[in-house]
């Protein structure tokens, strides 16, 4: 990757298919609406006599079976208000397979509140692990100013290495326990990101990356894929002065 935007473009190319097996047209319409802004094709198959409530099959770009689950359960996962993805991730399911569909899938209309909630999940994960690197792009100094208490706590917790990234200069009181990276006029003003490399536990790595395309409207994805998180972290370290 040579910019934050290229990582989002790569996700855009991973088009997936959601094959909905149901005889309930309302469900097809609902899932179609839910995914119309994502890089997902929703197709419909009639269910027949096989099942009562129906199921969904997730396919990769080449049509390969990637996973399947009952519609009731799928809808539960889709409601972040009920089940934040990270909470389900700690349940009994095989995390990588379960979230392969929803993660690495673009969202196009997250608002600031949804972004904060998702970012908070990553920050809490970093707090629980207490080691590793937590890199957060705040876009603007004012946004960091609103979070300094939280980030100073994170920066002094365990052996967590915290770096924060801004488009403008940080001219307020120096912050304990973290590196502040400022690069005026750069991509840092447009991207909100939180990346945690999991410390010694690769399974804990996760990241959120989104571009603010309109004021308060974010376009991006979240991921558990350790290689993608590593790539983002390495990109930040080589592009900006993180040390």
């Amino acid at each position: 990757m040579n910019s934050l935007g290229t990582l989002i473009e790569r996700i855009e190319r991973q088009r997936k298919t959601l094959e909905v097996h149901t005889d309930d047209d309302a469900i097809v319409a609902e899932l179609g609406r839910q995914f119309e802004t994502r890089t997902v094709d929703v197709t419909h198959r009639s269910l027949g006599s096989l099942d009562d409530s129906g199921f969904v099959i997730v396919r990769s770009t080449d049509g390969e079976f990637r996973g399947a689950l009952g519609i009731d359960q799928f809808r539960a996962i889709l409601s972040p208000q009920i089940h934040p993805p990270w909470e389900l991730a700690d349940a009994d399911y095989d995390r990588a397979e379960l979230f392969d569909f929803l993660e690495n899938t673009l969202f196009t209309t997250y608002d600031r509140r949804q972004m904060v909630a998702t970012a908070r999940e990553i920050e809490e994960r970093a707090w629980r692990v207490g080691s590793g690197r937590l890199y957060t792009g705040f876009q603007r100094a004012a946004a960091l100013a609103a979070q300094t208490a939280v980030y100073e706590r994170l920066g002094s917790h365990g052996s967590l290495a915290v770096a924060v990234f801004l488009d403008d200069a940080w001219d307020r009181a120096p912050l304990d326990g973290m590196t502040v990276v400022s690069k005026p006029g750069s991509e840092l003003g447009e991207f909100w990101f939180v990346a945690f490399d999991g410390g010694d536990t690769e399974m804990e790595s996760c990241a959120l990356l989104a571009e603010e395309r309109r004021d308060g409207e974010f376009y991006g994805f979240w991921t558990y894929d350790p290689s993608m998180v590593d790539e983002l972290v390495a990109y930040l370290e080589t592009t900006y002065d993180v040390s």
Binding site: L50, F55, E64, F65, L69, G70, I71, D94, L98
Partner: protein, 123 residues
Amino acid sequence: MGNDEFEPDPFALEAAAGELPVDDVFRLLADRHARYALIYLHDNPTPTVEELADVLAAKDASDRATIATPADRNPIRIRLYHAILPWIDALGFIAFDPGTNAVTDTEIPTAVTDAMGVTDPPP
């Protein structure tokens, strides 16, 4: 429909005694995946093995409120190819072509679909 405790309707099958190897059909219907395959074949007469494996894995996930992964699907596909479809073929309910990995024809006796509790939707 279609859980592990499934009991085929014996009366539906007994009525077809003489025309069908009833004991064999009972054994077939006692196999969960064979039963699901028959139900799907009833609605979709010419599927590929891949399509059947997808749907059976999804049906299992729906029944058990779990997620079916490619690792769950693979053994189902292998069993369909090597055991279930040849078995149904031997009973004469389908024509299975292992060369093209596809079912080319399906004609399931009404006594068998009745025994599974499958009813056609009203036209």
